[in-house]
Amino acid sequence: MTEHILRMSGITKTFPGVKALQDVTLSVRQGEIHAICGENGAGKSTLMKVLSGVYPHGDYEGEIFFEGKRCEFGGIRDSEHAGIVIIHQELALSPQLSIAENIFLGNERAKRGFIDWNRTNYEAGELMKRVGLRENPTTPISDIGVGKQQLVEIAKALSKKVKLLILDEPTAALNDDDSAHLLDLLRGLRDEGITCVIISHKLNEVTAIADSVTIIRDGRTIETLDMVTDHVTEDRIISGMVGRALDNRYPPHEPTIGEEALRIEDWTVYSPSQPDRKVVDGAALTLRRGEIVGLAGLMGAGRTELAMSLFGRTYGVNISGKVFKDGKPITIRNVQDAINHGIAYASEDRKRYGLNLIEDIKRNISAAGLKSLAKRGWVNENEEYRVAEEFHKSMNIKAPSVNSVVGKLSGGNQQKVVLSKWIMTEPDVLILDEPTRGIDVGAKYEIYTIINHLADQGKAVLVISSELPELLGLCDRIYTLSEGRITGEVPRQEATQESLMHLMTKGQE
């Protein structure tokens, strides 16, 4: 048995109202590639933030031993000093600076305060050779692709004499060639004695590259497996990841399914930042009146991108495909078109895309359907109040009055305001992106009841969610999305967490 380079034990991290991590244990052996797997929100990223000092010592409970020494990191600088470097999914590079400048950013090769450019570019070139990046060190970051940018990040880590390299979803934004190159590089680094921890949703990559895997679920360590001795397969990992406790109750619902309301065919969307990368690839969906349909997918699968590109092209470039509303082909060029066609979209990020936080409840509710309250451009403010007051009561929005500022409400009540806003536009199709994210259990139940009620009114509802129990408890039919492609369509009766997770992690054949 090789010695452990890292041991984290009893890690508990609490956010106001939520235990993100509970008594988590993680042991990583010297010189191995260790994968961490878990559903969205299982606590993987939080754990890595504890390790790298983003949450400083004292902010969490538990102990961290690195190379046998107890560590109490006060910040990222401390952990980097010890030899732990984390590379986030969102790369932290400065696009206008050169490769060499980025590699030594914050760690400049300087003599008496002046940059030694020869040494900077020479050493950068050496590091770039190690990671297999064939570019001129003086090329600006914005001129190279994301795959190469990822390599720059690793070169930057090597420049800091890294001993433990943490990669958060390193291949999520990469194409297949770049992913393969990156995985080869990680194997090479392992042979040089650098230990790697990788967080990944791509189980085929995990089984291909990792030496051991730790599975986290609901903020707890479920198990750590050795890939060889435990004969780990993708199925084995999935059975550890799912099985999230079914602690939310779901209101009973008997659907009355009617005519087709919305259908999309061959829907393809390219990323605006990397116009050669397909984010949604030939997706086809059908939504029927009175039906609640789920869309399951892991982070980066393209769920939100699919919804937003459909909702008035608010995401993506080179969008192609057909949309049919009530069987007739329609074109949606902007959000107003979508609203006019009876489509509503409640974003997963309600503070950013859903609400004007400095405005009151009634004006937020009327924001999308204001025209229905206006005559020749003049808003009837008394009608506005009346409508808002109706929602205040029917949706059970907990606030003293509809004149209360939305920014001060709890997450659940904010979500009810967002839903009210969209219901007011009298849509036929509602797309609800993570409708219960960041909401306490009681309010979740209320939201589920509202969703059921909407379906009973003959509206078609598409629920996007990372929580499989939620989809299983709420939806009549579930689509799965993986790497931008619809990989399955399962009726609720036939769906299990395992079968869905299989489809959600299905890689490209």
Binding site: G312, S347, L355, N356, I358, E359, R363, V379, N403, S404
Partner: protein, 419 residues
């Protein structure tokens, strides 16, 4: 004319929909007072009282009130357009230059080319709109920050003014234009020769009375409509108190003005603009969309607001208001000069921020911006009456601007902390 309602007291539901439930409130025996949105009116009242005392009442003499209004009318008109732009989260640095170029255009058309004055005025307003459309295009549709576009505009339109005028002014203007800018309503009905109102013009007084009756009726009807919808309204005592205070201010103003030379035409124009733009901002779909854009741009887009079009039109509007200000400024001086409108943009921006606009956008009121402009006007006027040198006036105005925005940021931070 209800623009000078002194304090925006709210209990439960509130009328003109400005900023209910915002942080920074104080409580007076059960009545809660929103400091952030009403502090500005209290500050204005305090400054007026302060300078009345310091100047031994000279501030509020009929002639001086008239002077304050006439001398600051163009900045106040600019402030109306500026507050809309700031609410939407943009800025316009070009308005001073636009004032100059539109004034010059009006002068060329009327004086050099001999166009009939109504036609020339119309052409000038159209030119203002085109200037606004030019800047609005680059900002809204091309995506260049307003700061840059209007900074360029500041240079461009000043250059254009100098090209048109050379280095000299053009004048004089036709009498009608001068009257609009600098004149007063006629004494159509003669004077009252009685007691304390000795020499006051009856027509002006009647206008004042009509304004007060109009304000009473409008407020009363809106209160009733709200009660009809089962909304809570402020207590009757408070309601009456606000009305009486508003009426007193109007009456005082009108009587003082009537004792001098009657109502300045620009005051009539200003009153109409303030009323129209306040209603536009609060009660039209377009006005609401301006607030939505400034409050959360992304959410506005996702709610179907056609952001580009809204931003474009508020800059067109700013161009038209700048043209009005340009005509009035040139008409008052009776000539269009190459330095007209210098630093007006700064006064208009300062008025908006002193008047409670938020730096990040989304917050602000037309009446607030006017009050902000009047605060600076009173400081200017009052300090010159007591003989302060101009550098000290500038110093005080700078401190007032900084303090007003610091107050805004402070109340917001406190609100964040209490969450």
């Amino acid at each position: 004319m209800s623009s000078i309602t002194p304090a925006d007291v709210e209990v439960g539901a509130k009328g003109d929909g400005g900023a209910p439930g915002r942080p920074g409130r104080v409580s007076f025996g059960g009545m809660s007072l929103n400091l952030r949105s009403s502090g500005i009116y209290i500050a204005f009242a305090a400054i007026v009282v302060l300078f009345s005392v310091l100047t031994d009442g000279a501030l509020l003499t009929p002639q001086n009130i008239s002077n304050i209004i006439v001398q600051n009318s163009y900045v106040l008109i600019l402030a109306i357009g500026m507050i809309l732009i700031i609410i939407a989260g943009h800025i316009d640095l070009s308005v001073g230059s636009v004032v100059a170029v539109t004034g010059a255009l009006a002068a060329v058309l009327m004086v050099n080319m001999g166009w009939p004055w109504p036609l020339a005025l119309l052409a000038t307003l159209v030119a203002g709109a085109l200037i606004g459309a030019w800047q609005g295009y680059w900002i809204a549709y091309f995506g260049i920050p307003a700061f840059i576009v209007t900074l360029a505009g500041m240079l461009l339109f000043r250059a254009l003014t100098l090209t048109v005028l050379g280095n000299q002014g053009i004048g004089p203007f036709p009498d009608q234009v001068r009257t609009l800018a600098n004149g007063f309503t006629d004494g159509y009905l003669g004077n009252i020769g009685l007691g304390p109102l000795g020499g006051a013009d009856l027509f002006s007084l009647l206008i004042g009375v009509v304004a007060i009756v109009g304000m009473f009726t409008a407020q009363w009807r809106s209160r009733h409509a709200r009660l009809g919808y089962g909304q809570s309204v402020e207590p009757m005592a408070l309601f009456v108190l606000k009305l009486v205070a508003g009426a007193a201010v109007i009456l005082f103003l009108v009587v003082q003005l009537a004792r001098f030379k009657n109502l300045p035409w620009v005051l009539v124009l200003l009153a109409i603009l303030v009323l129209a733009y306040s209603m536009m901002a609060n009660r039209t779909v377009f006005g609401r969309q301006i607030y939505a854009i400034g409050g959360n741009l992304q959410a506005a887009i996702m709610s179907g607001v056609k952001v580009k079009s809204v931003v474009f039109w508020i800059f067109v509007n700013m161009g038209v208001l700048s043209a009005i200000a340009g005509i009035i400024f040139a008409g008052r001086l009776n000539q269009a000069g190459p330095t007209a409108g210098n630093s007006f943009e700064l006064d208009a921006i300062a008025a908006a921020f002193i008047g409670g606009a938020a730096v990040q956008g989304g917050v602000g009121k037309v009446v607030g911006a006017i009050t902000g402009g009047l605060i600076m006007a009173v400081i200017n006027n009052g300090m010159s009456l007591i003989g302060s040198p101009s550098e000290r006036v500038m110093l005080v105005k700078g401190i007032v601007l900084l303090a007003a925005v610091a107050f805004d940021v402070w109340t917001k931070r406190r609100a964040g902390a209490s969450r």
